[in-house]
Symmetry: C2
Subunit: 376 residues, 2 copies
């Protein structure tokens, strides 16, 4: 299912085969929280943006329109019109960040919907059932994502529970995949490593979950408040214990620099709302660094956002026009900016893959990881 | 420049040749107020929507980003990326509807910008200079649009002034088109018939402005508060006095039914914010009538908005998905709905042209003019 094609140090490029198509890794997954990329970008646009994987959020889709309805309509692929791999998160992250009146117990979590206050219970079985209804390509295990910095005692306790939940997720996934009316009977399950910023806890947790021989492994609970040095240290500490023949996913990360550092430490998959969110505020990634198109200096700038970029936006529109659209509060501003930033991320991953294949990734990272993260 | 191809009663189909391409009439002009269609639709999308003419608003573009800046950047075509005809209105309508502290005198109008309160003066010369800077294909004469119902005395007075302004517009247009640094030296000028709902005033006004031998004639000051019967009566009254060999434009109109009634009375060009505005609220035109996608009954509806429609939205998305996008407040909802409604309008015009060519327009109008305007 996953095949490493080439290594350069810990960095690797590879191929993840799924029932919905093959993903060239390292890859960035484009976040379509509610079944659509924010900023009026559709699944049909994603093809022009070199996107390989669409990521949808289980919590949001469970609340609205409801996973049963999505199932009735043929699953997320039919619903959104995306015919390539989709990853759904477990809902855990949002339960812990968005929902209110949260109560965690061994079975799962009781919480109130952030939309209408409705009481909902979600445990490992519910999360997997919902993801099975959504019929994503890859489902994520239901976990607790603890904010950093955390107390060691709580982190250890939470970690233990998340491992027990993982066993239940695996059982439930096997059960769901065997049901005759399940839409995607080959749904994959990724486990999630937790343990906050405690190296030993992270390692022990990774060793435990590696035993389950899942389809892939994620590192969760990073980029949630800790300094990036801690994040990099944890990835380096955990990586040797992650199965080499399984894809590795660093959840919710990050800036172009973060991604390159992750790849350099052996990570294959990433996701982050940053490119689309920043774009909606006029902050655009370019070969030279990050520009802010709100700035008056772009008022008469007839160049594209990035002169080296071939995205639909850069092929068509000038900085001056987009600056005007932002000032005029035209929705089109968000769309063209989001398209540019996603294309930047997706083609960055292509450049990373090419560099690993050519054995020049370290050099590429040295040249660009800081540059791409810098506001100019 | 304008050639009638076929008549059916007063209805006619024809061809308007301009320096930016040929327009098949009757045509609907798609409104891109600030240089972009509201709802994240770009000039590049308009081609897929069968749009022939983009309409931009002089008042808005003068205020932001400024017509001099647009000129510096190569004019509206380069600025928005639209390489077919563009019509700009004169700014008059917005001066009278949006601006505050308005003071009309013989020279023109003093007013305050609705954006920042800045004092601005606009008269016929200024309006034409701005439109020349924007470099649209067709410029509109600067007029006063009086709200209905109006006092006869005021209507008569205003009408007289608008005629005097028209002479000044024509002179200024000739002057601008002769300047060496004018971007579009073949900019066309349309005059505007006014006179509120007073038939005789309208006719006399039309006779006077017809003498100027302009490139086209519009009927303005309708669809501004009067019953539609009054609107139809005025069009019928004025039409015999409009030059047969010039395109006729009914400003700011209207529903599909209004458009068909206008065509039946000899009108060639239309514009209206209705299709895009209604779309942004989830109200969609279909072959069966107008549907409201906010409605819960569409929650599980896996059909496209209109089963007979080939627009990008109907080829891709279900009512259920779009209903979800609306409920989830995803910007993509507006984009796909606006695209559908504009396509509906633009292809309606194609159907009207085909019907006139086939001599079946009256039948077409009888069958559809009420149906298309009805909420179902």
């Amino acid at each position: 299912m996953y095949r490493v094609i080439k290594n350069e140090g810990a960095a690797r490029c590879g191929e993840l085969s799924t029932v919905h198509g093959t993903v060239q890794t390292p890859a960035f997954m484009n976040v379509a929280t509610q079944g659509a990329i924010k900023g009026a970008v559709s699944a049909y646009d994603l093809k022009d943006l070199q996107c390989q994987v669409q990521l949808c959020n289980t919590y949001h889709l469970h609340l609205r329109p409801g996973d049963k309805l999505v199932k009735e309509l043929g699953g997320l692929h039919r619903f959104t019109g995306w015919n390539a791999p989709i990853l759904t998160d477990s809902g855990g992250f949002q339960v812990f960040s968005l929902a209110s009146l949260r109560k965690i117990k061994e079975e799962g979590v009781n919480f109130s919907s952030h939309i209408d206050g409705r009481h909902i219970f979600m445990g490992p079985e519910e999360s997997i059932q919902i993801q099975s209804n959504l019929a994503s390509t890859i489902a994520m295990a239901f976990d607790e994502c603890v904010e950093n910095p955390a107390e060691y005692k709580y982190a250890e306790q939470s970690c233990g529970r998340t491992v027990r939940w993982l066993y239940r997720c695996k059982d439930e996934m096997e059960r769901m995949n065997a049901l005759s009316d399940t839409l995607n009977k080959k749904q994959l399950l990724f486990g999630i490593n937790q343990g906050c910023t405690f190296d030993q806890l992270r390692i022990e947790n990774m060793q435990k979950i590696a035993e389950l021989d899942l389809d892939g492994y994620a590192i969760g609970g990073l980029a949630v408040g800790e300094p990036k040095e801690d994040m990099y240290r944890i990835i380096s500490a955990v990586e040797p214990y992650m199965p080499k023949d399984k894809p590795r996913y660093l959840m919710g990360v990050g800036t172009p620099g973060n991604i390159m550092e992750g790849v350099g430490r052996g990570v294959d998959l990433f996701d982050c709302v940053m490119p689309s969110r920043n774009a909606r505020h006029g902050h655009l990634f370019t070969e030279e660094g990050i520009i802010n198109l709100n700035n008056a200096k772009y008022e008469k700038d007839s160049r594209p956002i990035d002169q080296t970029c071939s995205c639909p936006t850069c092929r068509r529109h000038t900085r001056a026009y987009i600056h005007h659209l932002i000032k005029a509060k035209e929705m089109l501003a968000m769309r063209v900016c989001v398209m540019h930033n996603l294309y930047f991320y997706n083609t960055l991953m292509q450049k990373i893959r090419d560099a690993i294949e050519a054995g020049t990734f370290e050099e590429f990272k040295r040249n660009y990881s800081e540059k791409y993260d810098t506001r100019i």
